[in-house]
């Protein structure tokens, strides 16, 4: 095990092209799905926090319960929709990056939306009125609300990113772990470990930890700088 660890370090340091391709693929998928989930969550969270409508409580409860949705269930549902015989089979999306990003977006959405909603509900009710009375409407108003809820919205987005970068169920079932195509850090770790080959798995595990750390660290530094 010890020697596996050193060989893992060696793989990283030597710039092994497959290791870095896999890491890049994982990042690409996680980044795209987090962006998609955030773009849907921000307006959704804003509507939930500031508009009154019937059934709002139900939407919030559903979102909260979906936060615990198992990745394999999303994988299963999308698999049955995207497979050749499924209703969306004609698009031939199964085992493509698009399928993974779709699955991961669905996975991240309830988390980001719930946390964005609670970030906006935590805002004092004077803020929207102050913005309105000073003449802010539409986009500039929403932008200011986001700015004022600052770290809470950022945490929501980071939680979504954390959820998708580390998941294996969706990537495995919808991506198929195809080498140089849909193979991600987590699917590789699962595969290599089951084969008894720990070096690559460990190397990728270390990179995964480093990515999580770096993303969090740089965003928080960015926030501090912005303030």
């Amino acid at each position: 095990m010890n020697s596996s660890f050193f060989r893992a370090i060696q793989l990283i340091v030597s710039g092994n092209s497959e290791v870095y391709f896999i890491a890049f693929t994982s990042l690409k998928f996680a980044f795209s799905s987090t962006v998609i989930a955030t773009l849907i969550s921000l307006p959704l969270g804003m509507i939930l926090a500031f508009k009154h409508f019937t059934g709002k409580a139900i939407v919030v409860v559903v979102l909260n319960s979906l936060m615990a949705l198992p990745t394999v269930v999303i994988g299963l549902i999308l698999y049955s929709l995207l497979s050749r015989s499924g209703p969306l089979g004609g698009f031939r999306l199964l085992f493509t990056p698009v399928a993974i990003v779709m699955g991961q977006s669905i996975l991240a959405l309830p988390i980001v939306a719930s946390l964005v909603y609670s970030a906006f509900s935590g805002i004092s009710k004077e803020l929207p009125e102050t913005l309105e009375t000073l003449g802010a409407r539409g986009f500039s108003r929403n932008l200011m609300i986001m700015r004022e809820s600052g770290t809470a919205v950022l945490s929501a987005v980071l939680s979504g990113f954390g959820r998708v970068i580390g998941e294996v169920g969706v990537s495995m079932m919808l991506g198929g772990n195809i080498r140089w195509y849909t193979r991600t850090i987590t699917t590789t770790i699962a595969l290599e470990t089951s084969k008894g080959e720990f070096e690559l798995a460990l190397a990728l595990g270390l990179i995964l930890i480093a990515i999580s750390f770096l993303v969090n660290f740089s965003l928080h530094m960015g926030m501090r700088y912005a303030e």
Binding site: S124, E126, L127, E129, T130, E132, T133, L134, G135, A136, S140, M144, R147, E148, G150, E227
Partner: protein, 335 residues
């Protein structure tokens, strides 16, 4: 009444259709220009009324008119754009003092050099000069209130609506706020202000409206602007538009004399009694005030007396009628 900017008829408001009304305004007319102060205890509906008047809340029932036209959604936007509402506990944006004031100006797309001038001007006015780059969230409660006022003044609204602007202020700050409000009013702005501090209200108000449990209660006081011009061992003399009024012997910096309308006696001839103030003038207006009449007599200063129907008949009160107006020095309160 001419020059009506806002009029409310039977305006009600409830936060939830299932709940009862928190506000019921039978009839309220607001003129353009001047300072209207809404007084009343906590929970009487002052804030709700102010938010309706500044277009932030939509009334649940009744009719709100802006310059004689019913306020529909488009007009509400217009109302909202012409006024700025300042909360009792204002929301201060995170960032610098300057960022807070500039925000409304950036929305108006003013160029940077113009913004600089306005920021400096309003900060100077509210007494926060030199704090431009301070973190706004580190200001004290009173300073935040002043910042919020500066932020509102910066966008130069026609109407400034302030919810208890004196709430977090010490006596000195309150005086400086009074000065600012008087200056704004003199500059032609319409001010609508709520407070539960009567002295503050009387010092700044052209007109006082009292709210109790969401309903308007006629305050029926005369507010005369002026200053103390002298005094002797018995009285102080309060000078208002050339008319001298005798008051209890007091000293201090007063700018308003307040006389309740029900303490004013109207008579056809002079009366010889303990009423030390006796003026003479012509009736300029008669208004029915539920079962009483509010008679305005112009004696150099307009004075309103609350009288019964019987008195109106006996004295044959009508517009233009000449009458004596008497009231005790002890009925005059100075603020």
């Amino acid at each position: 009444m001419q020059n009506n900017f806002l009029s409310l008829k039977g305006v009600t408001f409830s936060y939830d259709a299932r709940l009862s009304n928190v506000l019921f305004i039978e009839d309220l007319e607001l003129e353009r220009g001047g300072t209207t102060v809404i007084v009343g205890p906590n929970g009487s509906g002052k804030t709700t009324l102010l938010k309706i008047l500044s277009g932030l809340l939509k009334e649940s029932g009744g009719e709100l008119k802006l310059y004689g036209r019913a306020v529909t959604n488009g007009a509400r936007e217009k109302l909202c754009r012409m006024s700025v509402f300042v909360h009792q506990n204002p929301y201060i944006f995170s960032g610098s003092v300057r960022h807070n004031i500039e925000y409304g100006l950036k929305l108006k797309r003013l160029p940077r050099n113009e913004r600089n001038g306005i920021v400096a001007k309003v900060l100077n006015k509210v007494g926060l000069k030199g704090l431009e780059h301070r973190n706004a969230l580190s200001l004290s409660g009173g300073e935040k209130q002043k910042l919020a006022m500066a932020r509102a003044m910066a966008v130069e609204p026609d109407v400034l609506v302030l919810d208890e602007p004196d709430a977090h202020m010490d006596a000195d700050s309150r005086r400086s706020i009074e000065g600012i409000l008087q200056e704004l009013s003199a500059g032609g702005k319409t001010l609508i202000i709520s407070t539960h501090n009567e002295a503050f209200a009387y010092r700044i108000a052209d007109r006082i409206v009292r709210l109790e449990d969401g309903r308007l209660v006629s305050p029926s006081v005369n507010i005369l602007r002026g200053r103390l011009s002298g005094g002797d061992e018995h009285f102080s003399y309060f000078e208002s538009s050339g008319t001298t009024i005798l008051c209890p012997p007091v000293t201090g910096d007063f700018n308003s004399a307040v006389i309740p309308c029900e303490d004013i006696i109207l008579s056809a001839s002079g009366i010889d009694a303990s009423t030390q103030n006796q003026l003479f003038g012509r009736v300029s207006n008669i208004e029915k005030e539920s079962y009483l009449f509010l008679v305005t007599v112009d004696c150099g200063v307009p004075l309103r007396a609350l009288v019964t129907k019987k008195s109106v008949e006996i004295l044959e009160i009508r517009e233009g009628k000449k009458l004596f107006v008497s009231f005790k020095a002890s009925a005059v309160k100075l603020y």
